[in-house]
Amino acid sequence: MSRGTASCPDWAALVAARDGGSSPAGFAGAEAGGAILTEVAWREALAHLATCGACRPAALGADPTLLFQSLPRIELAADDVAAMRQRVAAMRRAQRVTAERRLGHLARVAAGVSRVGRRGRGLAAAVLLAAVSGGLWLGLPASTPAGTAPTTATEAVPTMPFREPAGRPGAILPSAAEPVFMDLSSPRAADVYRVGRGGGLQVVMVVDETLDV
């Protein structure tokens, strides 16, 4: 028999109290070594077991499954966590692309069918309606929300068609097309500044070191 220290618990009594417990925590209201066994006391005993070699034979003799209290830990590097972020972002992008392609394909099918006349147009409308309903049922987004946050800072920069006005070389003005508003609420590393107020034109400046132009 191995000798322990005075602080070593009576493992046979502890395990018997744990296994005989009828309380919600699974611990006995009965005595274990002269005291009521609580979950806190059990955890303290386990913490003691982790550092006391003398306790090990007695503890394993009482309950061999205590061996698995010492399952090793996996320590992840910072790179692993960064890689996980990228993997999750890639999954989300892939899902968006798949959903957009599916709806685009169905829209093209519907448009093709409509060329055969009124009957075809009716059929195309029915197909499109069924596709959208089916997509909703499958949990696909019915549409891409206008305010969807971009996944990279480069996507946060709105692209607008520009043309040079006649007679004023060097001057750049936006075209007559309505500029696209993009939600800049969560670019990766950007600061967003609002420049000037007034008129109907909102001008913002995005400062992002990761942008490569």
Partner: protein, 213 residues
Amino acid sequence: MPELAYSATRHRAQLVEASDRDLLLSLRGDDEAALDELIDRKTGPLVQTVYRILGDLEEARDVVQVTFFRIWEHRARFDDRWSPNTWIYRIASNLAIDHLRSRKSRERGNEPVRRHLRQVADLSAEGSSGPLHQAEVLGIFHELAGELTDKQRAVFLLREVEGLSSQEVADVVGCRESTVRNHLFNARKVLRRELVARYPEYAPRGEQAEVGA
């Protein structure tokens, strides 16, 4: 003067201070930075738990990746009355159990041995602390845990190794507390029996530590 309308750095700093609950609530507002912060916090503990369930580090990473994706997909379903950790671990453990079931149906006779060798390699590569003995203990656990049902395995790990309370385990696994105690009782019984039969050197019988007078 340009007016600073949004600072990603400031927003990120706020998220670092936010609680897990606040992060999950931020996800409901499509805050991708909140998802990144959640990934930074939870990747390590989740990979740890899922790895112990599955016994394969690469598979654990895959399952954890899908876990975060599911959290994002179902972000609107999080109820702020729930424990955030319980919700997250429930998604992860369900995915791990599903993965375990699908793997069992594909497994051939040599697979457990090859997985054990991969585990030892995983632990060496990750710089896991502790002697090779710990890797051996992990291999023994995964071998014997093959005799458990998936729920018994998950309950044993979450309760005995991860230290969750019986109620928390019940919430994660999705059953009553009394069912958790039944699973735990049966898991210990099976593991004890198999440990004594296959690895008697780890299961000394009848030895008692003599507490010093």
